[in-house]
C-alpha cells in the first residue's frame, strides 16, 4: 500500500526583489501567500504550513552592495533555505508561496543542501540581468530581474556565494528556462541577450507555443533524464500568463499562456516524477483589488501540488 507524501506549504511574503511601485511604495507581492492560505489552500492540500515573517523592505542602498535590499534578501534567503531543507529532510514536499522571484535563491539553496540538483525556470522573463550586461551605477539592481543569473553564479558574491564553495546554486547545464518573450529580438537589442551564449537551455514563449506545450514539456523531461537529474526544483512565475489573463503582476506582457495552458504544461512536467519542490511567484494582490484572479491561480497551485505529491508516494504497510 502506498500513500501520497505530505506537502509543506512555506510562505515567502517578499517584495524585496522588486523596485518600488508607481506610488513609490513597496510592491504588495508579499501579501499573496496569506491570501492563498486565507482562501483555504492548506485545507485543500491537507498541508503542513510554515510561515516566514514579512521582511522589511528598504528604499535606500545598503552597505557594500549595488542590489536593492541585497542584505535583507541574503538574510531572508538563508531563512527560507532552512525551511525548504527541513521540509525535504523530513520527507515532505516543499511548495513555496511567493512573493517575488528573489525567493528562488532561498528555495534553491535549501533544495541543494538536501541533495537536489537542477532547475526548470518557467517565467515570462529570463531574469538574467547581471553586472556584465547592465550598468550598476545607473540604478539599484532588482533581484526579481536577475534571479536566474544569480542562481547560475553570475552577480555579486552577496547572492551567489552561500556555502563556502565556489559552486553556483545550479550549473548552467542543469538550468532550463522556458517563457522569455523578448528574445525573438536580436541579441544586441536587449541587455540580457547574453543568456543565449550561456549553457542554459532557453525556450522562448514563442517557441513554446510553436512546438506545443506537451511536446515541449516532454522534451524538457527527456533532457532532465539525459542530464541524470531526478531531484529538480520548479520555479513558476505567473507572469508567463498573458497579461490579458493576469495583469496583476509587476511586468505583465504578451504573448503568454492562459490558465488552462499553464496548468496543462506544468502537470506534464510534474508527471515525470523528476521534481522535489516548487515555488509560485509574482501575483500582486495590490494590483487585484477585486481578487479576480485568486481562484484561478489557487487551482494551478493546488493541482500541481497534488500531482507532485502523488508522484512521490510513500510505501506503507
Amino acid at each position: 500500500m502506498s500513500t501520497a507524501k505530505q506537502i509543506t506549504l512555506i510562505t515567502a511574503p517578499s517584495s524585496l526583489g522588486l523596485r518600488p511601485n508607481e506610488k513609490g511604495l513597496e510592491p504588495t507581492t508579499w501579501q499573496a501567500p496569506d491570501l492563498y492560505l486565507k482562501s483555504g489552500l492548506s485545507q485543500k492540500l491537507q498541508a503542513k504550513v510554515v510561515k516566514l515573517e514579512h521582511p522589511t523592505y528598504t528604499f535606500d542602498p545598503q552597505f557594500g552592495t549595488k542590489i536593492r535590499n541585497g542584505l535583507v534578501i541574503r538574510a531572508f534567503s538563508l531563512q527560507l533555505a532552512a525551511k525548504v531543507e527541513e521540509a525535504l529532510h523530513t520527507g515532505t514536499i516543499p511548495i513555496v508561496l511567493g512573493g517575488d522571484c528573489s525567493i528562488l535563491l532561498g528555495c534553491l539553496l535549501g533544495a541543494k543542501r538536501a541533495g537536489s540538483k537542477g532547475l526548470v525556470h518557467v517565467d515570462g522573463h529570463c531574469d538574467y540581468f547581471h553586472p556584465g550586461n547592465y550598468d550598476v551605477t545607473t540604478r539599484l539592481g532588482t533581484v526579481a530581474g536577475m534571479d536566474l543569473a544569480l542562481a547560475t553564479g553570475k552577480g555579486e558574491l552577496l547572492l551567489t556565494q552561500w556555502d563556502k564553495t565556489d559552486r553556483s546554486l545550479v550549473s548552467e547545464q542543469d538550468a532550463f528556462h522556458i517563457g522569455e518573450r523578448s528574445l525573438e529580438k536580436t541579441e544586441s537589442e536587449i541587455e540580457w541577450g547574453d543568456i543565449t551564449s550561456s549553457e542554459i537551455t532557453v525556450i522562448t514563449l514563442q517557441k513554446l507555443l510553436e512546438d506545443g506545450l506537451e511536446t515541449t514539456a516532454t522534451n524538457i523531461c527527456k533532457a532532465l533524464h539525459k542530464r541524470n537529474l531526478s531531484q529538480v526544483w520548479l520555479h513558476v512565475d505567473f507572469d508567463i500568463l498573458d497579461q490579458c489573463y493576469l495583469p496583476a503582476v509587476d511586468s505583465p506582457g504578451s504573448p503568454g499562456l492562459n490558465f488552462g495552458e499553464l496548468e496543462s504544461f506544468l502537470l506534464t512536467l510534474l508527471r515525470s516524477g523528476y521534481f522535489v519542490g516548487m515555488d509560485f511567484t509574482i501575483y500582486d494582490p495590490g494590483l487585484d483589488p477585486e481578487r479576480t484572479y485568486v481562484s484561478a491561480l489557487m487551482q494551478i497551485i493546488e493541482k500541481c501540488s497534488l500531482q507532485i505529491s502523488h508522484n512521490q508516494t510513500i510505501k506503507t504497510q
Partner: protein
C-alpha cells in the same frame, strides 16, 4: 595610553568557529608588495601588517603600514597607514569590512566570504568589480592580491600582490 577596551585576546565564544576565518591571521607579518599598474613600470615596497581580535572578540582589526613603522619613524615618511575593521555577521553568514586610510582620505566598504580555503572581499568601484583575496594561507605565510574586472566578472586583471611572512 593603550585601548584596552578595544582589544581582545581571543574570539567571542558565541561565534568562535566563524571568527577563525580572519582569526587565523592574528599576529604580525612582514609584507612585500608588488604594484602592477595598467601602464608604466611595476613598483615594489615593503611594510608590515598586524592583525588582532577586537570588540569582545567579535571583530578582527588590522593595521597595514608601508613602510614598516621603524622605517617611517627613522625617515619621517609614511606611504600608507590604514586601519581595517572586519566584523562577522552571523545572520548574513558573511563579514563586513571597512578600510580607513587617513593619509589619502580613503574609506572603503566591502563584504567578505570564505570560498574554499580563500577569503574573498568584494566591492564595486563605479562599474568595476574589485576583489581583495587572501590565499595560500599557512601558519607562517600567506598571499594577498587585488584583482579588478571591467566586464562584470568575465575577466580579471591583477593590480597588486602581497607576500606575507609571520614575524610574531
Amino acid at each position: 595610553m593603550t585601548l584596552d577596551l578595544l582589544h581582545s585576546s581571543h574570539p567571542a565564544k558565541d561565534r568562535a568557529e566563524a571568527m577563525q576565518l580572519y582569526g587565523q591571521l592574528t599576529g604580525k607579518w612582514q609584507i612585500d608588495i608588488r604594484y602592477i599598474p595598467v601602464e608604466g613600470a611595476e613598483r615594489f615596497a615593503s611594510g608590515e601588517w598586524e592583525f588582532g581580535y577586537a570588540l569582545e572578540g567579535r571583530a578582527v582589526i588590522d593595521i597595514w603600514q608601508v613602510p614598516a613603522r621603524e622605517v617611517s619613524e627613522q625617515t619621517g615618511k609614511s606611504v600608507e597607514c590604514g586601519l581595517c575593521v572586519r566584523v562577522y555577521d552571523p545572520v548574513l553568514a558573511l563579514w563586513k569590512f571597512t578600510f580607513h586610510g587617513p593619509l589619502y582620505r580613503t574609506t572603503l566598504n566591502m563584504l567578505a566570504y570564505q570560498i574554499g580555503n580563500e577569503i574573498v572581499q568584494e566591492m564595486f568601484v563605479e562599474r568595476d568589480i574589485v576583489r581583495w583575496i587572501f590565499h595560500n594561507i599557512t601558519p607562517e605565510t600567506f598571499s594577498w592580491k587585488a584583482i579588478r574586472s571591467k566586464d562584470g566578472g568575465k575577466s580579471w586583471r591583477v593590480e597588486q600582490i602581497v607576500q606575507a611572512s609571520r614575524i610574531i
